[in-house]
């Protein structure tokens, strides 16, 4: 296909490009008389230009809160999004349960003036959809409503965020469910593997925390504790808003102003996010379970960060080639397609904005293939450090991003949510265009270089949930020092 050379000629120029027609690849009209199919026919196709004016959200400010707005009159619906910068990770372990419960209780705990049942009845009567979520670093919420009920929807949704009721029964339902979840954490081998792996690598850092019964005493999610955590996170000083749908800015601005007018300012400022100290210790950790399939996770720390830097882009494309790019990537091609070891196999490379991340791989395979699959993955990782990828591999990874660029604009909600993320991460408004240019500048040698600098196959911490007898003790030991763990992550026999 002639796509790539054409695409490389296009260089985004910030808002000027976004405001103008997006033209990808110049070519002639398709030949409808062609009947040939297959590879040669695919390669011979002329790709017509893709004309598109990507919509650009407007950035407003209401009572000091940034609001990204994009009108979309397609359907009689409006969506509003809220993102609060801050989560339990900033407040310490004693706020872990309350911080984790926060999104659920905002949705289901009622308000100071509406009991949970009354609130649900109103939301359902007006067919208003809300969602609440969050984690250690942020809390987010959204509302979706038929346009004619926007006023009511924002009144209710604003009240849910601003004046939560902390209904005692709902608090107890949450706590009871979480206690049951703790009891069941060994039931799903994959969930067990991933949470134990985080605990192993991150230790007493929010990423490594796993809920325990000690976190879940009634006082840990009392109304007072919830209110204290809420007052420091879900408040205007931490808030970014986004709105899209069948509404004008003139119509929605007063409604947002009213929602924010009565909202108390944030309480005591949140402390900065704690810096992780990620374990750097090669070896094998196994949680023995009598299973027909082992779950394997391996990784070590790296210091490539989300930034407008060549190294970051090289890591992105490199990870796609290694195992993040699906069937075209090396790990899936070798582990699944060629060897038939696994249904799923991939690399992972996290690149947080400010702190270190991890690089490694994940797969699942039958017990007898566990060590061979691990060895194969380590071999693939080692090879990546020494041999640059070929042009075809780099081309595939880059083209996937460049030709699929238009999907970044598939829905107005997606466009607004992405810009909200950029604001929260302190990324420039034209980050997507910079990213596009950055990945197109990646070369095979820059990928080899980032692998050589940051990938250490012999430094992997490898965690396995599986049957040690069928995996083979000697084979396991050949990978490094082996530690047997209990289900709760403590070394077996140490209690």
């Amino acid at each position: 296909m002639s796509a790539r050379s054409g695409l490389r000629k296009w260089r985004p120029g910030g808002t000027a490009v976004l405001a103008g027609a997006l033209v990808l690849v110049g070519a002639t009209a398709p030949d409808a008389s062609a009947q040939a199919v297959g590879r040669a026919a695919a390669e011979a196709l002329e790709v017509p230009p893709l004309r598109f004016d990507p919509p650009e959200p407007e950035l407003h400010e209401v009572r000091g809160v940034p609001v990204l707005f994009l009108a979309d009159p397609g359907l009689p619906l409006v969506s509003v999004f809220a993102r609060f910068q801050g989560g339990y990770g900033r407040l310490g372990r004693e706020a872990y349960a309350a911080g984790t419960a926060l999104p659920t209780l905002l949705r289901y705990g009622g308000t100071t003036t509406l009991a949970p049942d009354s609130l649900d009845a109103l939301l359902e009567y007006f067919a208003i959809q809300t969602s609440f979520g969050g984690g250690g670093e942020s809390v987010f919420a959204s509302v979706n409503t038929l346009t004619e009920h926007l006023d009511t929807a924002l009144t209710l949704w604003g009240s849910m965020m601003r004046e939560p009721g902390w209904d005692a029964r709902q608090l107890e339902v949450w706590r009871g469910s979480e206690v049951e979840r703790v009891r069941r954490r060994g039931d799903d081998p994959a969930r067990l593997a991933y949470s134990e792996f985080n605990r192993l690598l991150y230790g007493d850092h929010p990423v490594g925390w796993e809920m325990s019964l000690d976190d879940l005493r009634p006082d840990d999610v009392s109304a007072a504790r919830m209110a204290s955590v809420h007052g420091r996170i879900v408040c205007p000083g931490n808030l970014t808003l986004g709105a899209t749908g069948d509404v004008t800015w003139e119509d929605i601005a007063p409604l947002l102003d009213r929602m924010l007018a009565e909202w108390p300012a944030c309480g005591e400022p949140l402390p900065p996010s704690p810096e992780p100290r990620i374990l750097r210790q090669p070896g094998v950790w196994i949680i023995p379970r009598d299973l027909e399939q082992s779950v394997i996770v391996m990784a070590h720390p790296t210091d490539v960060h989300l930034a407008d830097e060549p190294e970051y882009y090289a890591a992105q494309i490199g990870n796609s080639i290694l195992g993040g790019g699906g069937f075209s990537s090396r790990i899936l091609s070798r582990v699944r397609t060629e060897e038939g070891y696994a249904y799923s196999a991939s690399s992972l490379w996290t690149t947080p904005r400010r702190f270190d991340g991890i690089v490694g791989a994940i797969t699942r395979t039958r017990p007898e293939n566990t060590v061979p699959a691990i060895r194969l993955i380590l071999e693939i990782l080692d090879d990546a450090r020494h041999t640059p990828p070929d042009d075809e591999e780099v081309g595939t990874a880059v083209d996937q991003i460049v030709n699929g660029f238009v999907f970044n604009f598939d829905s107005p909600g997606q466009i607004v949510a992405r810009r909200m993320f950029y604001l929260a991460q302190d990324l420039p408004a034209d980050w997507l265009e910079r990213y596009l240019a950055g990945v197109q500048a990646v070369t095979p040698e820059s990928i080899r270089s980032v692998f050589a600098d940051h990938l250490r196959p012999d430094g992997m911490s490898i965690l396995i949930v599986g049957d040690p007898d069928r995996i083979g003790a000697d084979d396991l030991a050949s990978l490094g020092p082996v530690t047997v763990l209990d289900v709760d992550g403590t070394p077996a026999g140490s209690r």
Partner: protein
């Protein structure tokens, strides 16, 4: 749809359609024409019987493609279970030109591999493990030799480079569905590749891909307590109908499926008359139909798939099974109910929402909030849609409560519904929920493509999906009470519980 009431209004969808929304209180009405039926969908049937459904939509220049073959688990027989799903995997392996450097050299090796596999199966039957091991190695070595001629995952790679999103497929009891989204300027590329895949598939890397499918089964069923419980529950509930057999197949069948089995299955069931192609997005229908005729119209018509005539006999008493697994308890309760074409289907759909749709639903309120017997409860109907279904309630008990206590509370709620029926306020809540959902579903190209494709394939008419939504609005509280009384009886019930060894 329901009669619009106070507060309702007509609005433009930007699709040439007036949509009426009415979230106010109201009473059930007879269904009339629905707004979805006015979508500018264009449908054509090619001379070979393939149906093409196209919906042009404004917005970003992207297109969703869905190809639905009306074949799945129910068309399988014991001994070759899992074949539809394995074939789904094999159709990503390329063609006579895609994925190969020398297809004839590959085919020469296929013969040697397949002969070794036939011999291996006979050795396995006589428990000759030494020969089995030797032949396993021989097949692996031959597959390695063939791999020299293979361009790995080239079908995927061509589409990935073109910017494809979500390239995948899924196999259900009644259908095998291939789907992808592409930038709009790659529409012709999709035709070139899909037509090639239909006409010239090559089932290369067969034995390693079969191993991949066994790993998928290990992941989804054998190391998943929920997956295991689901499979065993269906096996207990269905004694005759193929709904009792897992779509992923039994392990011993997967280990014996041959390349010839898959090729034969493909020839019989993947004919154009058994396929619906649905395309939604930034396309010109005339141009799309031109390409459809050019690329897909030349495919041979193929055989008519044999109908599935098996009928599950009426259940004559409660069935209870236990599944032993090293995990905390779960319970799954099922009742036989009719297929989705039956007049009771809309009432059963609303019943499902009434029982477990959201936090205000009856079972959530009773089990999770009031009695705190469970942490989760949900309902579902399946495992397919075209044949008599099983209406299932899954619940996760909250310690120290038992699955028996959960069961008792579920039966009590059903008894209350059978005696008194739902309240009018409850009915309005679930109708509103269904109606708002039908508007929100129009937001995604790929979601609409799935919806139109299923409707066209199952009902012979893409509009039927919208009529079904409207029919929900006509369900009355008495209808719900009637279906609870009719189907939710003790003798029609199958209960599966997950227990630990020696526990309960």
């Amino acid at each position: 749809m329901r009669r619009p009431l106070a507060g309702a209004r007509a609005v433009g969808l930007g699709l040439g359609v007036a949509l009426i929304v009415s979230p106010g209180l109201g009473t059930a009405q007879e269904p009339g024409p629905t707004p979805g039926e006015a979508l500018p969908v264009v449908e054509r049937t090619l001379e070979n019987g393939m149906r093409i459904v196209v919906l042009p939509r404004p917005g970003a220049p992207t297109v969703a493609f869905v190809v639905r073959y009306a074949v799945g688990g129910v068309h399988e027989h014991l001994g070759t279970t899992g074949i539809a799903h394995l074939l789904e995997h094999m159709l990503f392996k390329g063609t006579t030109t895609v994925g190969t450097r020398d297809v004839e050299a590959e085919r020469a090796l296929f013969g040697l591999m397949d002969a070794a596999h036939d011999t291996l199966l006979r050795a396995r039957a006589r428990r000759d493990s030494a020969t089995v091991a030797r032949l396993d190695e021989r097949i692996a070595a031959l597959e390695d030799s063939a791999r020299v001629h293979v361009v790995g995952n080239e079908f995927d790679r061509i589409l990935t480079r073109a910017g494809a999103q979500g390239l995948n497929a899924t196999t259900t009891n009644e259908a095998t569905i291939y789907f992808v989204e592409l930038p709009a300027n790659r529409t012709q590329l999709w035709f070139v590749l899909e037509a090639d895949r239909m006409a010239n598939p090559v089932f290369r890397e067969f034995y390693s891909e079969r191993d991949v499918v066994t790993e998928e089964r290990r992941m989804r069923v054998e190391t998943s307590p929920g997956g295991l419980l689901y499979e065993q529950h269906l096996a207990a509930a269905y004694t005759v109908h193929p709904y009792g057999v897992p779509v992923v197949g039994y392990m011993s069948d997967l280990e014996t499926l041959s390349r010839a089995d898959v090729a034969d299955y493909y020839r019989r069931f993947y004919g154009p008359a058994n396929a619906v192609v649905t395309i939604v997005g930034d396309v010109d229908p005339d141009q799309v139909f031109g390409w459809a005729r050019t690329y897909l119209g030349t495919q041979p018509r193929g055989e008519e798939p044999p109908p599935v005539l098996a009928v599950e006999p009426p259940q004559r008493g409660e069935r209870r099974i236990e599944v032993v697994w090293d995990a905390e308890p779960q319970v799954r309760i099922g009742w036989h109910t009719p297929d989705i074409f039956h007049e009771d289907a809309p009432a059963l759909t609303l019943l499902s929402t009434l029982l477990s749709g959201g936090r205000t639903s009856r079972l959530y309120q009773r089990l999770v909030v009031e009695d705190r017997l469970a942490t989760e409860v949900f309902t579902s109907s399946g495992p397919g849609v075209e044949h008599a279904q099983l209406f299932a309630i899954d619940a996760t008990p909250r310690a120290p409560h038992t699955t028996r206590e959960v069961e008792a509370a579920v039966y009590d709620e059903l008894r209350r519904l059978a005696e008194h029926g739902p309240t009018e306020a409850e009915m309005e809540r679930v109708r509103n929920r269904a109606e708002a959902g039908s508007v929100r579903r129009l937001q995604s190209n790929v979601g609409l493509a799935f919806q139109l494709s299923e409707s066209a394939s199952l009902f012979g008419d893409w509009r039927e999906t919208f009529r079904l939504s409207a029919r929900l609005g006509a369900v009355t509280a008495d209808d719900v009470r009637r279906v609870v009384r009719r189907y939710f009886t003790d003798v029609n019930r199958t209960v599966a519980t997950l227990v630990t060894e020696g526990g309960s």
